[in-house]
């Protein structure tokens, strides 16, 4: 379980996270919604140890990420997919995927290679194993980013606005893969996903829970159907305002006039 307890993060005088608490249990798909600057990405970066905390505590299966030794262990349990892909440009697609499983998890090369090729095939990139990231489209790069994370066999998959840098067509192709991934979880033992996104409709379809952040504070943490219920999440003016602007197509109909 990922447990975030009263986390505070400041950049200079600006408080980005202001006492945020939440949990992600194995098999859950939790979506973090919120406008830009609400602290969603920072929260992900605190969980994978790319930012240090100014207060509170984060544990991944009991491992405290503030402790360097425990962080190294925690990083073997989770894997991150980044907004701007963050692939290694000097390595082939295959090597991008196999690097950490081989070096960090010390798994045999042949086994990792096989898994990487299978993952690539599953996202429609079987022919791209020997290409370099620079030769791929954005959508293809993000699919490689997803394969790279999955090759770690993570218990927790952290997805940081993974479609924000993509055009609608590429967004669709990446979301289709993530949707398959989320529904494949048998609701218990599978990979848990913590998903920062602006894709409200998609979040609604795949999430078990939705968390809403506003100016660094967690406003609600509700099961998905309650989040979109008129007497649930939508009872909050801030959330109603956000949803009406983010996804005018779908949830508007349910917002009481």
């Amino acid at each position: 379980m990922i447990a975030v307890e009263g986390v505070v993060k400041r950049f200079g005088a600006h408080t980005v996270l202001d006492g945020v608490s939440l949990t992600v249990a194995p098999g859950e798909v939790v979506t973090i919604l919120g406008s830009s600057g609400s602290g969603k990405s920072t929260l992900i970066r605190c969980i994978n140890g790319l930012e240090t905390l100014d207060g509170g505590r984060i544990t991944v299966d009991g491992l405290d990420v503030a402790d360097p030794r425990q962080l190294a262990q925690a990083r073997r349990l989770s894997a991150t997919v980044f907004q701007l892909f963050n692939l290694y440009p000097h390595m082939t697609v295959l090597r991008n995927i196999t690097l950490a499983p081989e070096l960090v998890l010390k798994r045999p090369k042949a086994e990792v290679d096989g898994q990487a090729r299978a993952l690539l095939a599953s996202v429609g990139l079987a022919g791209k194993a020997d290409s370099y990231p620079g030769q791929l489209s954005g959508g293809q790069r993000q699919r490689v980013g997803i394969c790279r994370a999955l090759a770690m066999n993570p218990r927790y998959l952290l997805l940081d606005e993974v479609t924000s840098a993509l055009d609608p067509e590429m967004t669709a192709e990446v979301l289709a893969i993530l949707g398959k991934l989320a529904t494949r979880q048998p609701g218990g033992a599978g990979t848990a996903m913590l998903f920062v996104t602006h894709e409200v409709e998609f979040a609604r379809r795949i999430s078990t829970r939705i968390v809403f952040l506003d100016q660094g504070r967690l406003i609600v943490d509700l099961p998905t159907d309650q989040f979109f219920a008129a007497d649930g999440g939508l009872a909050h003016p801030r959330i109603r305002q956000f949803l009406s602007k983010m996804a005018p197509a779908a949830p508007l109909a349910e917002i009481p006039a």
Partner: protein, 223 residues
């Protein structure tokens, strides 16, 4: 022996001098490469006191003449420590440190050129610092740094001629000896110059080949 003509022995003297020059260059450049890169990595990871200390020291070395450094080491240090240094040792020490200073600044720039995003990805995936340097930072920084390093190598090869001043019998000193004996400065210094040119040109060609090979690998970096 006044106005004596050239003999076969002179060829041997020059060859030996060339050998000393090349050996001194190769040894000190290699040491400088290792030390300068190591210092750059320390700086990259912001190792507190050591990083700043190295930066200051190497900055001093880069911004003062090699000849002055050579005199300081060969004449100054023995006077301070009451312990004489051999010319070859003083030359090796000075040139290694001087090369390290230039390598350091090239390597720092190369490391800084590697995208921060990849470093974060590698860290989030649990790579150790050593693995990060070896697999992510090193290869890409090298691709950025190879051209300036080849230029530096050609320059440092020629800088070795300064060690003749403290009595190391390198190519320049061999030319000096030959000149004093034959009194044919034009012929002698032309010959010495041609030998330096041949060595530097060979080094450039080798460097360019290495650079092309590295760049072929780094093509996706958009260099």
């Amino acid at each position: 022996m006044r106005h004596a003509g050239f003999t076969w022995h002179d060829g041997a003297l020059l060859a030996q001098g060339l050998g000393v020059s090349l050996g001194l260059f190769a040894g000190t450049f290699l040491i400088g490469l290792v030390l300068g890169s190591a210092a750059a990595v320390l700086r990259h990871f912001r190792v507190p006191t050591l990083g700043t200390l190295l930066h200051t020291g190497l900055e001093l070395l880069r911004n003062s003449p090699v000849l002055v450094q050579l005199f300081l080491v060969f004449f100054g240090v023995p006077a301070l420590l009451h312990q004489p240094l051999t010319p070859v040792f003083a030359a090796g020490l000075t040139l290694s440190a001087n090369t390290a200073a230039f390598v350091y600044f090239i390597a720092v720039a190369g490391l800084d050129a590697v995208g921060r995003d990849q470093v974060e990805a590698a860290r989030a995936f649990g790579l150790s610092r050593v693995q990060l340097v070896r697999h992510i930072l090193g290869p890409q920084a090298l691709a950025f740094a190879v051209a300036p390093l080849v230029g530096l190598a050609v320059n440092q090869l020629q800088v070795t001629s300064l060690v003749s001043v403290i009595g190391v019998v390198d190519l320049t000193k061999a030319g000096d000896i030959l000149n004093l004996r034959t009194l044919r400065p034009f012929a002698v210094w032309t010959l010495v110059g041609v030998l330096y040119f041949a060595a530097a040109k060979t080094l450039t060609l080798l460097g360019n080949r290495w650079e092309r090979r590295l760049r072929a690998h780094a093509a996706p970096l958009g260099l």
